[in-house]
Amino acid sequence: MAAFKTKKQKNIMNRLISYIILIPTSLVAMVPFLWMVISAFKSEDELFTIPPKILPSALHFENFSYVFKMDMMGNWIFNTVFVCVSTITLMAISSVIVAYGFARFDVKPSNFFFMLLLATMMLPWAITMIPAFVMFSKVGWVGTWLPLIIPSIGGSPVYIFMIRQYIMTIPRELDEAAMIDGASSFKILWNIIVPNCKPIMMTMIIFAFSGAWGDFLGPFIYLSDPMTFTLSLGINTMRTVTGYIPWHYMMAASAMFAIPVVFIYFFGMKFFTKGLVMSGLKG
């Protein structure tokens, strides 16, 4: 009987089975996420009822306003935005300059340095964590945002690689035409390469943003004064400062903290996917 199934029937069966697997599993993947949002709207009592109620009896928006009114929330928001913006700006400028060097100047040592760049992608940070801290403490930067921001002046190997691959697809004729008109290489970078790199720069910025926004370890190692904390650390203090853990507030804070990155992901999904794929390409 099975042997008589037409190809079309088989196709429909395949689809049906796929949906039977995809729908429940994607829901399972979403459950923790949804649970965070639901819990953020619950009153504290509702969190502890047994058996648990899935939905809150009323939407407790005051959880969110509580988080916003926390003592240093204003500082934390400002600090996070400041660190993010400076990191990304430095990272973007440096990465595109370096990528241009790798893409357009085919000199002999270029290959060697490019290989070195790819190798440093795999450099474990566990080895640099301690000496970097020693170094930054010697120059008096521990406790400031500088150790979080300044290392971006070197760009990031992944972004340099991504942008370099992209620049290679921009026709060289454009450069050459400008060169005949007497443009310097920097002018070519600024007037031709950068404007043509907009999509890949978007990708890079989206990636760098979600990395910098959620960064925990960097601030955790270098910052100690709560006034200087970023949101990651600030939200964490909600559970460490007193023994009591206000889960409903913490879920509200966690959910709000996620909004910018989730928003950016939806907004730039095609860039996100492209960036991931690009970073996974071989050189």
């Binding site: 829901l27 996420f33 965070m36 502890f48 000199v107 925990f216 959910a255 996620a258 991931l276 996974g280």
Partner: protein, 312 residues
Amino acid sequence: MGFYMATGSAVKAGKSKSKRERQKLLQFFLYISPWLVGLTLFSLIPIVMSFVLSFTKYDLLSAPEFIGLKNYINLFTNTPEFSKGLVNTFYYTFFRMLFVIIISLFFAVLLDQKLKGVRVFRTLYYLPSVLPFISGTLLWMYMFNFDFGLLNSAFGVFGIKPIDWFGVKNAMNSIILMSVWGGIGPTLTILLAGMQSVPTTLYESMDLDGAGSFKKFLYVTLPMISPSIFYVAIMGVIGCLQEFASIMLLTEGGPENATTTLTYQVYQYAFTSRTMGFASAYSWVVFVIILVFTAIFFKWGNKAVYYEGGDK
């Protein structure tokens, strides 16, 4: 006369060509200099510094004191939690990567069809990995709670006894569960992109041979996307071997060192007890372990990975 003129201009051209080459070289280094400076300041110098510090006793306040190989000897003979950390690190890395890759492969195959709503599913699987680290960790801390966490409450509904997620037996598995949940999105996306670039003609020729979908997966998809698998595996392993932030927040390495990892111990020796010299020696051992692993991986990968065009 004509002869002289010809050679003259050739010499001149050669000279200006080499001059142009030199200028190009200079420009190349100028443009990559931000990266070179960053690499030197924040990677190369620190690595050398870490090596030097690993032979000293150093607490950041007084000057480092040279003590020879003592730190290394101490680490291998007198640090009982080292072996525990080693075992845990490998356990975490192995199972985390195994689950992430198998689950991602499975869903990538399902999503690599002409189905309605593929993008929606892709987004749903990806979303967990978008969460900022602290949000995800706090969320799981809450869900793992013994008394009122979602997992135990849900089990209670089905009459299953509550599980002590952070007990000695389960703690590491709980951390793996959390990180698999957050790790599938990017892996799935990269593998799916790999699958979508497999030429359909390869599948069509398998169709002619009457091969089933599992055979197609085994003989076409898998070899064709092996470079992508290799990439996610190697980057994942390097990351996993250094994992400690989630452990620090969820269990602090406990209970009874059940979740302590190598890098977490490095972190503790450096930043909790301020034994910077010992911690540096420890981090060098971790570094070497990662290097050896990466090298083995590459060697094995060169044999197992299929690169189109036969290029190694």
